[in-house]
Amino acid sequence: MFLADASVKEIFEVKPRIHKIILNQPEAAKIAEPGQFINIRVSETHYPLLRRPFSICDAEGETITLLFNLLGEGTRMLAHLKPGDSVNIMGPLGKGFKPVKGIKNQIFIAGGMGAAPFPLLARRTEGKISTFIGGKSSREIIELDLPNREIATEDGSAGFKGNVIELLEEKISGKPPEDVMIYGCGPTGMLRALKTFCEKHNFVCQVSTECAMACGFGICQGCPTVSATEPGGYKLVCKDGPVFDIKEIVL
């Protein structure tokens, strides 16, 4: 983990408001793990003051790819970067996904922007991967060329009509738990339903969570998530996560 300047190699819109930025930073690319994140200084002034955390989407050779949604001032500034520009990055930060070997069914579940960490996870995962991608409508579906995709949209504008957990129920609920490993990332509502689903079928699941952060490396204590294992306690999304065993946290 370190602080460094990275130069923008490419930046483009993949869907309306969704941007992909490819940064040249060989050292960070070398050590990046799926599910970890990068904290970017979007402005050299005091506004916005805090860095912005983004899940590592992919890392290959000398580059790190991030995906971001144009939401506020910080992402707007980021979207204005051009190839050759330099940004200060901190990372890779946090604990990522731990791909488990020897599992017959490696299941990726993504909701909306939650597709972000899966391209790198796909590179690092052995065995057959099935990807389930959900969103309210086809506009929210981000596919990123992930392996063996199935789509669920609540309005039925693409793929299965219903939410992605209902699709999961249909497709994998009958499989023996020891043959299944689930990796999830998406909105809290989806993760909550995923937790119930996993409890019901006794599936092991790792989920990537999200929280507003100040520092991103454990000193500010600003990003707690409620611990399911220690009563009254919290875990820090930035340092203990962002990826947790779904049993460890209350969603």
Partner: protein, 331 residues
């Protein structure tokens, strides 16, 4: 000329005036990935209380223009775990360790101070009576002159090591609080803790912090903090002050020292640029060299304030009328 950056505040000697503020540097182990702790004057620990505290429910932070609100709620590992698990990490560094203590009773302040005082690695204490986010351990002490006297006297009696009282800016007369602390035996004061602030989400109409209010920090509060430090120093020039509030570069640190601080603490900037301490030190050294300041401590309280005479305008350079229109001036 290599300027002398050492400073002495109260009985505390520091190799330079740069400290990392409580709650923005943890117990050192995370931030040391980015900054060489040997280079800075010292680290003020995250507030330690007798028992562990889990902290407030989320959300705990909200960004604001050039600043941030926090309502962490003094989340910390507790006294015993601090001593057994956190303090040993700091053994390897040649830098001052200032233990920040938060408590919900006078007795708890005393127990923590006494226990930590016997630890060799602890060089000084900063007593947090000003956390805006918890009732006990914060506002009930920091806003009451008698309580400040009582806490200071009792803590003073519990240790021979330097004691600094961290003051709340949320009072109308901070100089009186500083005086009360020093009269009761403190070596000096840390000024200031965060300002009470709040922010509301206009879509949900809910406060952005679960605690409703939080402490405002960052560059946004620097002028407010400078005013508080000046207020103390002008009223009580003898009081030792550690300046805190929105410092993000060496110029800000110099400004605090001129206003009256003997040393300064870096806070919110650590979240954004955790290596800033080293760069600020380089800037301070260069500033002193350029201004031919042999000892940086000469800066402390060196402000020049000339009260204007009745009917006369005070020009910033004090040397005469301002330059005429169209004429190059230095202003």
């Amino acid at each position: 000329m290599i300027p002398d950056l050492t400073v002495v505040t109260g009985k505390l000697k520091l190799k330079n005036p740069i400290l990392l503020a409580s709650g923005t540097a943890g117990y050192g182990s995370e931030i040391s990935q980015f900054i060489d702790l040997n280079k800075i004057g010292g680290i003020v620990t995250k507030s330690i209380s007798l028992n562990p505290r889990a902290g407030n429910p989320p959300p705990r932070i909200a960004e604001t223009p050039s600043g941030m609100l926090n309502a962490i709620g003094l989340a910390n590992v507790g006294l015993e775990k601090f001593i057994s698990e956190k303090l040993p990490y700091l053994e390897q560094y040649d830098t001052a360790v200032i233990c920040n203590i938060a408590a919900s009773s006078v007795e708890e302040y005393v127990i923590c101070t006494e226990r930590l005082s016997s630890e060799k690695r602890v060089d000084a204490f900063e007593i947090n009576i000003s956390c805006p986010n918890v009732k006990e351990g914060g506002l009930i002490f920091g806003n009451d002159l008698d309580k400040v006297r009582e806490v200071t006297e009792r803590v003073r009696g519990a240790t021979t090591k330097p004691v600094f009282i961290k003051l709340s800016p949320n009072v109308p007369n901070i100089a009186d609080f500083a005086k009360a602390a020093v009269d009761a035996g403190a070596d000096g004061v840390s000024a200031i803790n965060t300002f009470v602030g709040a922010a509301i989400d206009i879509n949900t109409r809910k406060p952005k912090l679960a605690n409703v209010t939080g402490g405002l920090s960052g560059p946004a509060i620097r002028p407010l903090a400078i005013a508080k430090v000046l207020e103390i120093k002008r009223k009580h020039p003898e009081i030792e002050i550690i300046g805190i509030g929105g410092i993000s570069n060496w110029k800000d640190a110099v400004e605090f020292m001129i206003a009256g601080a003997s040393a300064v603490q870096l806070g919110t900037v650590n979240f954004v640029e955790p290596d800033s301490g080293e760069r600020i030190l380089e800037g301070l050294e260069q500033y002193c060299a350029e201004k031919k300041i042999e000892r940086i401590r000469e800066l402390t309280g060196s402000f020049i304030i000339i009260p204007p005479k009745a009917g006369q305008v005070n020009y910033p350079d004090q040397s005469g009328p301002p330059p005429k229109r169209g004429q190059a001036g230095e202003l």
